[in-house]
């Protein structure tokens, strides 16, 4: 359960980045924050694990105001997948994935078992990948490892910031599928930031359209394409163009 209560974020120059955000996301719900670059999607996302603090209003996770929550503990049960991946270059694939479990004090045996199962679901065979360093992986492989690292401890919330944006289209589609499948199985509450409607429809059951720091549309994914809102129409059109191309 994630709740935004009249949240605003202003830049240092006093301009609004987010303006009066108010809505909540239920447990197990998957939501896409859709919008143009600079709309404020990423800011809205980073509020949830306390990487940014609101200028006014409050963000609540599981009914706890983040201003009075232990952010370190919160982050350990919140997965975070970003475009830049941020794999630790000095650690192998296996060690990268073991990061959060080690912080949580799991036994090495349990870490190994969970990591192996998860990697194979993401189509990275353990024997071939466990001991490799991130630099030797392709972009798609790195992103899979990043996902595995974020979800191995079965976080109750998963935050994704355009995780597939830098991948080539074919790899992106494959990964979206694998990702959606793993998530359906886990029923994790998820926020997925993207500017790609196809991706939003694929991974989320609800779409929150953000423009210029405000929520302009909040609807079930299935209804998004029927929206009459001009910005929603324009996003829907990109889908048609993609289909004919």
């Amino acid at each position: 359960m994630i709740e935004y209560r009249n949240v605003s974020v202003t830049s240092q120059t006093g301009q609004f980045i987010l303006k009066d955000f108010s809505f909540s996301i239920g447990p197990g719900e998957t939501v896409a924050f859709l919008g143009r670059s600079g709309a404020g999607k990423t800011t809205a996302l980073r509020l949830v694990n306390g990487l940014i603090q609101p200028s006014s209003g409050a963000v609540l996770v599981d009914s706890q105001d983040l201003r009075t929550t232990d952010l370190i503990a919160l982050r350990r049960r919140t997965g975070y997948v970003i475009q830049g991946v941020g794999l630790f270059p000095h650690r192998t694939v296996a060690e990268n994935i073991a990061t959060v479990p080690r912080l949580l004090g799991w036994t090495e045996q349990r870490i190994r078992e969970e990591a192996e199962t998860l990697l194979s679901k993401l189509e990275l065979p353990w024997d071939r990948f466990a001991n490799r360093f991130p630099r030797s992986l392709s972009g798609g492989e790195q992103q899979r490892v990043g996902i595995a690292r974020s979800i191995i401890s079965s976080p109750s919330i998963l935050l994704c910031d355009e995780p597939f944006a830098s991948l080539d289209p074919l790899v992106r589609r494959d990964l979206q599928r694998a990702f959606a499948a793993v998530n359906r199985e886990r029923r994790t509450t998820m926020i997925f930031v993207t500017h790609d409607v196809y991706e939003a429809l694929q991974v989320a059951e609800r779409i929150v359209l953000i423009d210029d720091g405000s929520v302009v549309l909040d609807c079930r994914s299935a209804r998004f394409l029927q929206s009459k809102l001009p910005l929603a129409r324009r996003f829907a059109e990109t889908l048609m163009m993609g289909a004919t191309a």
């Binding site: 970003i82 830049g84 270059p89």
Partner: protein, 214 residues
């Protein structure tokens, strides 16, 4: 020349040992001081700026003058190896502080953010992510500090610190080129050896984690 080296080999060996000892002690102290200072610099910009400014200024003092300044200072100064060690430590401090800071600052922001977002405390992030990634750069700083210290240590003889400078100063006084070379050549070789060894270490550490393609 070779005959000269052969006939003085015991003395050259003894002074080389002294020289190395001076450098090793000074370098150990500056590593112990420099790495925490470098971490401090990367954490607190303002303090960092001041620390770097001070180490920078020390670097610009001509070495002979620095030894001169130190002699009258109680406890750390005086005639002998102690003064030499203090001066060498001060000289080799800057590259170590600077490279530690640069190494930490150079960590990819996405990697840093991932560490925070995965729930590392700031000291865990430093210990598990930032410092390990800064190691090649830190070794680079130690390498520069070592080469610098080996060179400057030849001046240590001027304050009675011993080392290969003893031969050089004696050679200058006696206008004996062979004697000067007997001090200067081993010192130069030491510097080159330290450079080569530490460069190799730097590269092998970087390669092990796949930062450089072998």
């Amino acid at each position: 020349m070779i005959d000269y080296f052969a006939s003085h080999s015991t003395e050259i060996a003894r002074l080389t040992g002294e020289h190395l000892l001076l450098v090793a002690v000074a370098l150990s102290i500056s590593v112990l001081l420099g790495i925490p200072l470098g971490i401090l610099c990367s954490r607190h910009r303002r303090i960092g700026g001041i620390v770097l400014r001070i180490t920078d200024v020390i670097q610009t003092i001509p070495s002979l003058a620095l030894f001169g300044f130190l002699i009258p200072i109680p406890f750390i100064g005086g005639i002998g190896a102690r003064t030499a060690i203090v001066a060498l430590t001060l000289y080799s401090l800057l590259p170590i502080v600077r490279n530690t800071m640069l190494g930490i600052d150079g960590v990819d922001p996405a990697v840093r953010e991932a560490a925070t977002a995965l729930g590392m405390t700031s000291s865990q992030r430093l210990r598990l992510v930032e410092l390990p990634l800064a190691v090649p750069s830190m070794i680079g700083g130690i390498r520069i500090g070592a080469v610098l210290a080996i060179g400057v240590a030849t001046i240590a003889a001027a304050v009675g610190g011993g080392g290969l400078g003893t031969l050089i100063f004696r050679g200058v006084a006696m206008v004996d080129t062979r004697l000067i070379l007997a001090g200067a050549l081993p010192a130069a070789l030491l510097a080159v050896a330290a450079d080569v060894l530490l460069s190799a270490l730097e590269r092998s550490l970087a390669r092990r984690r796949g930062e450089i393609r072998a």
